[in-house]
Symmetry: C2
Subunit: 453 residues, 2 copies
Amino acid sequence: MQQMILDLIEEKKFSKLRSLLDNLNPADIATILVEVDEKDLPIVFRILPKELAAEVFSYLESDMQQFLIEKLSDTELKIVLDELYLDDTVDIIEEMPANIAKRILSQSDANTRKKINQLLAYPEDSAGSIMTTEYIDLKKNMTVDDAFDRIRKIGFDTETIYTCYVIDRSRHLLGMVSLKDLLLNPKDCIIGDIMEENVIFANTLDDKEDVAGQFEKYDFMALPVVDKENRLVGIITVDDAIDVIQEEATEDIEKMAAILPSDKTYFKTGVFSTFKSRIPWLMLLMISATFTGAIISSFEHKLTAIPALIAFIPMLMDTGGNSGSQSSVTIIRAISLGDIEFSDIFKVIWKELRVAFCCSITLASVSFIKLWLVDYLIFHTFDPGRQMLEILVVCITLFITIIVAKFVGCVLPILAKKIGFDPAVMASPFITTIVDAIALLVYFRIAVAVLGI
Amino acid sequence: MQQMILDLIEEKKFSKLRSLLDNLNPADIATILVEVDEKDLPIVFRILPKELAAEVFSYLESDMQQFLIEKLSDTELKIVLDELYLDDTVDIIEEMPANIAKRILSQSDANTRKKINQLLAYPEDSAGSIMTTEYIDLKKNMTVDDAFDRIRKIGFDTETIYTCYVIDRSRHLLGMVSLKDLLLNPKDCIIGDIMEENVIFANTLDDKEDVAGQFEKYDFMALPVVDKENRLVGIITVDDAIDVIQEEATEDIEKMAAILPSDKTYFKTGVFSTFKSRIPWLMLLMISATFTGAIISSFEHKLTAIPALIAFIPMLMDTGGNSGSQSSVTIIRAISLGDIEFSDIFKVIWKELRVAFCCSITLASVSFIKLWLVDYLIFHTFDPGRQMLEILVVCITLFITIIVAKFVGCVLPILAKKIGFDPAVMASPFITTIVDAIALLVYFRIAVAVLGI
């Protein structure tokens, strides 16, 4: 299909192209346009019917949007903007350089411009920033028939008609009624009698992640957004909630890997931006590792006495780090899904300690058997006095390290959340650095005590 | 609110309780029921109106569902089951022990039982397993008015009425029409004339993760599912797609932290299950670390010659591990969001190498300055011949390790995907183990070459 379209563009068969594109989904057309040669792009875009053109436009990446806006005449731009939903226009403006943003605003009528500016003013992570102001509002004393008239009148321009909101004269939210209810009730029913009064809503300044969580919990299609005075100012639709859910998951995953989150896709982020998002944590963690080095340095003369001990350092550090990151990542995800709160901290610690105990008993035993078998049975190099003690030191350290690692791994994210930090930062890399230092301290102290070096 | 309800139960004020619950959202009632004493649970559940009772039931955790089913009489169970959507019934049956599953099936009528058994037969991760068979189907030659009649007739029992599907006599999918289109077109319009023929659909055996991705891409509310003969067998609604998106993100995050994924929430997973999901990777990675130990052992006598080198091992290993996991996690997420495919492999490598170069130059320089400053300027212990060389060894190793780590980190997930493995497994812990070994080999070889030990 994609090749067929690219060929038609090549051969300039535009009427055939138009009828082909007309049958495609706007998201698919946007994907195909990425492959189109830049010089053909404005032509192809212009042959799309205006409504479709606007939809395709909203699915394009921002660099292509910018390119197209620069090529379109003011009249063409106005046509596209008129067809776009307000929340999409706002998303586009937020990504554009100032001169293009200005041009977009100048092509909108005064009323739209006012609404756009209001939406632009909401903080980046707020419910207000992802809502749209186009929805169906009804009055309490309307009949079902009146409601249908209103839907037919303003429904073309609203993002969803399936949930309608009932407001009073000062736009206070009184209730909601679904199109299903409207359809399944007699035409002369009064809206006030059939509306659902117990409406769950968001405030404009609520965190958009929490709002997306509401969609997951309640299976909503749309959620009304009110201002401080409880007046309805917009709605959030489920498609925007899905985008937020995916973005937040990506952000958490990035933070867990010690990357500063970016809101662009992999290839859209330049080399230097990628560098900038990765270097701060790498640098910080590298410098923190100096402490681990200092611990080794201070035990240097003891290590040279029994060099065999050095070989176990990576295994102890890695196993500790992995144990700790298993706990921290599990807890971080549970916090962000709302399964764990601060009050659960002792329940979490108790569970993690029991899991840690099972893991450390198992791993320490396996290590013991493996070291004993390898040294004693295979290499026949076993000196029952000395080497058995060394093996014991390694296994006891392993046991203690895993328990400490799981404890640190589960406590830090919960504490971080409590003091207002992002728990996702307390994931593998951070935990690993702490656990490394602890593992080495435990290792050397036990070695000194048991081996008497 | 929760306390008020618990008090009413305590005081046995059931009629007041009923009118209070009647105004709440079923998801919220389910949350409150968790706090209710077990002995009161059946009573509270019975006072709910039957439709609400069924909705609340579908939001409960499976252990509470099982408890309630055991307490309900056959008649009561049948009432709840009749009100449930088929896909919810199937979800419940899947979680129940055999005897309860049998009891549920025996309370359904023959037709429902047949449909349930069909749904139960779809593989766990397939589109078929999350679809519902209750939807609005229309015929091509119906008018808009006929369509409304049909929606009013069967709409009560379908999960969504907002997208209707047009099928022929053998149930082949011909097109779809949204309720918005029906409302905004004249009553005598023929469905065949206004329906959208270019319908995007899923097959019953498609991976549910891919299907959820379609919802994200196209902003759908529902997606039709067809069998091998292109006959419509069900639909998937957006609320189920959201659940899949969250589950898949959790699964990826767990795999990235070397945990076998589980489908239960944190507190619902027992200590032993948690242990079982964590121990295999811990064990495997611990045993792999033996190789790292072997590398150290084989250079043991050289290390004892210059013990200062030991202190840098943790810093080199950690920085390598962190660099590698940044790349691997970024790539894994991009793969699962569909931003990167196998054909992008060289583009990815080229980008990662440039980022790696920037990171390694920066970190090696910072290390150099730090080591030089600390040794020379602060401690005045600088021996220009020897120590400058040691610092050089550390910085060159750091430089090479970061580049190798980022290369390994970006290539492994893409290759894993290509050969049919889950890329998420190629995250931090796995990469760390490989990078550790590489870092040490590079370190010791350079040390031997430069310092001539």
